[in-house]
């Protein structure tokens, strides 16, 4: 129970840096000087409780310094990436259905007149790198608390996972790294354990492989919730009591927020041994039920504020929640796991399954009765006031007393430099490798690539049914083994209206970060549209390397510019997002950065879930259409990667044109003209059609010469990954009606579904691919672990 005090007002720069090191504060020198000046003006020593408060609140993880910094990019000056691109697009689009965006724990948009949807996606990369099970486990726990943190009931989980190739030879595995197979299995086990136990279905996701993720696996987790609009409250008043609900506070998860803001080295595991939290899903379930009951109480919500204890623990939750008011908190009231914890540890512990509520005194008894009935501890730990200060007490002694204005106004803004040499060198493609291709073998090798191959063994470990709201499920087709484009949920038992959840992102396109980001947006929207989603809201989640490196930062700038252009072009605002930086491993003088990775989540709605569409071919004799134009865009494609070809054009997007394609498809879907619809992405149109055949347990005859394109080489048509393309199945006799509905966009009838279980792709009467369905299925079901 020791509190240490430091006369920082007198410290030299060297002493400040030493202090920063000794306490692992992860602050930079200008921040340390600002702190020194603060104590000079208050004429007193700094307590360790206070110093850790700065460390947590000003960490990259909590404050997002990089996205707020001034950036000089080539000759351009950018006043904050978030403000200049992400938020700007949302503000300009100014949608009345965006109810709360970029303000609270989760983005909130309208669902119908009575209800709203809450969505949040986060990463849990750093903890997962150290402990894959617990990292993923608590990542899921954290995301549900963000949803319940706006008073919504979580009803869906999403997970986007990135690992090194599971085929990595054990002999090449560095001694201190997890093998990607083990990493993948433990991460999946962690997600399944948490999601299944809390009883929230995992309905959408992706798993991608790239060797840059060896030391830095990426785990994105998301959740969607639903809440009655009139039950949203955030109105704490002086005199309201602070109620801490859920689990006890312990030493697990100390300095998680600072840890999430640094690069990983050999010693990270030792230094931040306590940074990974330990999850308890049932504790979380109790909190959810307790908060929903308090929310739906006949008197109206019993609380005036509810928030999650995440990164930075109580320190961040208390300071952020009452930043315009003031608060006094008694650390000795907090139920502890470890009784000998020092005050600073209690204050910043990130022990899981805890939430903070503000409760008017007259509701205190009733809300405590509810939590008691749920077997969930609820303790009054302090009071809201209007002092504009946060006062932290241990017994009678004050161990921290900070100005909230200073805490929130003053992390000195950085100016960062970004630079990228223009990439004009036209990499000539060595087509030597591509003559006399055995196209059958190529298609089989693409479908068996871990990026494409079946993820059924993962999806079946996740409960995707619980809640009975999952109308379009992740596995589709006759044998329920084909990959769906999006999930459709019917959140209310009394309404047919649905939520459509999809994602997009392909880090292999990061050779052109601008196009990569636009492609991610297009893919997420395209997947959504395939199932019937519209009125789309977007979430951006960046996982990047070290932003202090000019090139990495420049790539970030370019991706953010694309986010702005994409949001504007598709008329789809960003409603929430998060960045995870410093995803790199430093080994001596060598930096291993991850490839820049942007995941876009798209949340659409569908007026009637009974109109939703799946991707499996439905009936032989039906026609197969391709919508959209196929260009010479194989840069970063799976096909080029298979053949070790660098260069080439990364798929581009014209959002305005793409938007028209999607609007027309939605019209056709609403008229019931679309029997199945699947997006063309990795592997191009050949893989998309193969997947539809797997779903339909049928064959297909395709004439490649009909495809709208300016290409003539079969491999380019088959494997180009041009964006904004969809494969659509139309019933016999409805071609005219369908073609009328989509008139004005590039499209072609390219073939038909057959009952013979063969996939035949020809070009000017020459058979290019002729494969048994069973061979495709065998390739697709190649085990990736």
């Amino acid at each position: 129970m020791i509190v240490n005090y430091f006369p920082v007002y007198d410290f030299s720069e060297k002493e400040l840096i030493e202090l920063n090191e000794n306490l692992s504060l992860a602050l930079n020198i200008s921040e340390l000087i600002a702190i020194k000046n603060y104590y000079r003006s208050e004429k007193r020593k700094a307590s360790d409780v206070e110093l850790h408060t700065f460390s947590q609140l000003w960490s990259e993880h909590c404050y997002h310094k990089t996205f707020k910094s001034k950036i000089v990019f080539n000759n351009e000056e950018i006043d904050g990436l978030f403000k200049s691109y992400i938020e700007k697009a949302t503000k300009e689009l100014n949608k009345e259905w965006c109810l709360k965006v970029f303000e609270d724990n989760a983005g909130i948009i309208e669902f119908d007149e009575e209800y709203a949807i809450a969505v949040k996606v986060e990463t849990h990369n750093h903890p997962t790198a150290l402990d894959p099970f617990s990292g993923a486990h608590t990542g899921v726990g954290g995301i549900y608390r963000d949803i319940i943190g706006v008073g919504a009931r979580p009803i869906a989980t999403m997970d986007y996972l990135f690992f090194a190739y599971p085929t990595l030879d054990y002999n090449n595995l560095p001694p201190d790294a997890y093998h990607p197979k083990i990493m993948l299995k433990r991460v999946v086990a962690g997600i399944a354990d948490y999601g299944n136990k809390v009883g929230i279905p995992t309905v959408n996701g992706c798993v991608q492989f790239h060797n840059s993720y060896l030391r830095n696996p990426l785990v994105f987790v998301g959740s969607v919730g639903i809440l009655p609009k009139n039950k949203y409250v955030r109105n704490p008043k002086p005199g309201h009591k602070m109620l801490l609900v859920g689990g006890k506070t312990g030493r697990d998860g100390i300095k998680g927020a600072s840890f999430a803001s640094i690069s990983i080295t050999k010693t990270t595991g030792v230094k931040y041994y306590a940074a990974v939290q330990i999850g308890n899903p049932i504790e979380e379930k109790k909190i959810i039920e307790g908060i929903i009951r308090a929310r739906d109480h006949p008197k109206g919500p019993l609380y005036s504020l509810v928030t999650d204890l995440g990164g930075g623990g109580l320190a961040v939750a208390v300071c952020e929640s009452f930043r315009n008011l003031g608060a006094e908190i008694s650390l000795d009231k907090i139920p502890l796991k470890h009784l000998d914890m020092d005050p600073w540890e209690i204050w910043i512990s990130e022990s899981q399954e805890r939430m903070l509520l503000a409760v008017p005194e007259e509701n205190l008894e009733e809300i405590k009765r509810i939590f008691d009935e749920e077997d969930c501890e609820a303790t009054v730990i302090g009071e809201v006031n209007d002092s504009k200060r946060v006062v932290i007490k241990q017994g009678e002694s004050v161990v921290g007393n900070l100005s909230l204005d200073f805490l929130f106004s003053n992390p000195p803004k950085l100016t960062l430099n970004a630079f990228l040499a223009s990439n004009n060198q036209n990499l000539s493609i060595n087509e030597q490798k591509l003559i006399k291709l055995d196209y059958n073998q190529v298609l089989l090798s693409l479908t068996s690539d871990p990026n494409i191959a079946s993820k059924e063994w993962i999806i079946r470990q996740y409960d995707h049914e619980v809640g009975a709201r999952t109308i379009i499920k992740p596995l589709q087709g006759l044998n329920l083994d084909a990959p769906g484009d999006a999930a459709v949920l019917k959140p209310l038992y009394h309404s047919w209206k649905g939520i459509v959840i999809s994602n997009g992102g392909n880090p292999n396109y990061s050779i052109d970060p601008y196009r990569m980001a636009l492609s991610a947006i297009d893919e997420a929207i395209r997947n959504n549209v395939s199932c019937g989603g519209r009125r789309i809201a977007l979430l951006d989640n960046f996982s990047w390397g070290n932003p202090m490196i000019k090139e990495e930062l420049a790539k970030l700038v370019l991706a953010c510019k694309a986010c702005y252009d994409g949001a504007k072009g598709y008329d789809a605002p960003f409603i929430s997002g998060k960045d995870s930086l410093y995803n790199e491993y430093i080994e001596g003088n060598e930096r291993h950065e991850i490839v820049p990775t942007l995941m876009i989540t798209a949340i659409g709605i569908i007026p009637d879930v009974r109109k939703s569409v799946t991707m499996d071919f439905k009936r032989s004799g039906n026609y197969v259409y391709i919508l959209g134009f196929t260009s010479d865009e194989l840069g970063g494609s799976l096909f080029y990667r298979k053949f070790g070809i660098d260069g080439g054009e990364v798929p581009n997007v014209n959002p305005e044109r793409a938007k028209i394609i999607y609007e027309k498809v939605i019209k056709a879907i609403d008229r019931g003209l679309v029997k199945s619809c699947h997006d063309c992405s990795e592997g191009g149109l050949s893989v998309a059609i193969a997947e539809m055949c797997i779903g339909g347990n049928c064959g297909v005859e395709i004439d490649l010469s009909k495809v709208p394109t300016n290409l003539n080489k079969p491999y380019k048509i088959l494997f180009s990954e041009s964006n904004s393309r969809l494969i659509v199945e139309v019933a016999q006799g409805y071609e005219k009606e369908f073609e009328f509905a989509i008139r004005g966009i590039p499209f072609a009838k390219i073939g038909y579904v057959t009952s013979e279980k063969r996939l035949v792709f020809s070009m000017e009467d020459e058979k290019i691919i002729d494969l048994e369905l069973s061979d495709i299925i065998k390739a697709y079901k190649t085990s990736i672990v």
Binding site: A192, N196, K197, V198, G199, I200, N280, P281, I282, K285, K286, E373, E374, D375, C376, I459, R460, Q461, Y462, D463, H464, E465, V466, G467, A468, R469, T470, I471, I472, K473, L475, Q476, G477, L478, L480, K490, Y493, V609, R610, S612, V613, T614, D616, K618, S676
Partner: protein
């Protein structure tokens, strides 16, 4: 008169909302209640005409699935529940509810209230989410599955659903037709190939000696409307009602007798 149906939950129960919805569609009046209210005596089982213990991970499935909940049923509510069952009121345990009824001994023999069977970790060691076909035992004495179609289709979502039983008791439940559903093919062929979790003799659901207590691992409440079927987009002619609904309708009908 809609019978009052208790949906009993505990910490970690997570199928209570859709269970209440299924009861509502079936014509019952559901009330979701925490078991602590019964333990404290603020309400009694007697206030209800039907009991459903829904799925989930009660008390985290610590020790083993449904074990702690089964101890509470035995230690705190044994007499109430015994009386409820003896009166002939319908009791339905789904997934975690089934696990709790088996481990507390109310199934398969509610007369004895001794555990004689169990539901253990799936043969593959993993949680499984998939859809299964279930063949009815046409001679089953279960009152909740009267007029069952020969084969029904429902999802399973469990990690510990492998039914095991002593030989003597196994013979007894087969002899007395307490076995209700067996995992099967779409055509009702019962074979190890269609057994998702390694259950002995493909057993998926059983009833007690009176037929009013029904335990089932698959989830009837998750298929009460057509659009919950995993392949409704392929089969436009599916009937509007899901395969699981009739179980709730039977239960509610039986419960009405006690109104």
């Amino acid at each position: 008169m809609r019978p009052k149906c208790l949906v009993l939950r505990a910490a970690g129960t997570n199928c209570d909302l859709e269970t209440a919805e299924a009861i509502k569609i079936a014509g019952g009046d559901p009330e979701i209640l925490h078991i602590n209210v019964l333990i404290k005596g603020e309400k009694k089982l007697d206030d209800y005409q039907m009991l459903v213990i829904p799925g989930g991970f009660s008390y985290a499935d610590s020790i083993s699935a449904g074990k702690i909940l089964s101890n509470i049923l035995k230690n705190n509510l044994k007499h109430q529940l015994k009386k409820f069952i003896d009166e002939g009121k319908p009791v339905l345990g789904v997934c975690n509810g089934f696990q709790a009824l088996i481990k507390s001994g109310f199934l398969p023999f509610s007369n004895e209230v001794n555990q004689s069977a169990s539901l253990i970790i799936n043969k593959n060691g993993l949680f499984i989410d998939t859809w299964v076909y279930l063949k009815i035992n046409p001679k089953s004495i279960c009152l909740l599955t009267k007029n069952s179609p020969n084969v029904i289709y429902l999802p399973i979502n469990h990690g510990e659903g492998r039914f095991v039983c002593n030989k003597k008791e196994l013979e007894k439940i087969f002899e007395s037709n307490q076995v209700v559903y067996l995992y099967s093919s779409i055509n009702g062929i019962v074979d190890e190939a269609y057994n998702p979790n390694g259950s002995v003799m493909n057993i998926a659901a059983i009833t007690n000696e009176y037929g009013n207590v029904f335990g089932i691992m698959p989830h009837p409440e998750k298929f009460v409307i057509k659009y919950q079927h995993p392949n409704w987009t392929r089969f436009p002619n599916l009937k509007e009602e899901g395969d699981g609904l009739f179980i709730y309708s039977n239960a509610v009908k039986l419960a009405k007798k006690f109104c």
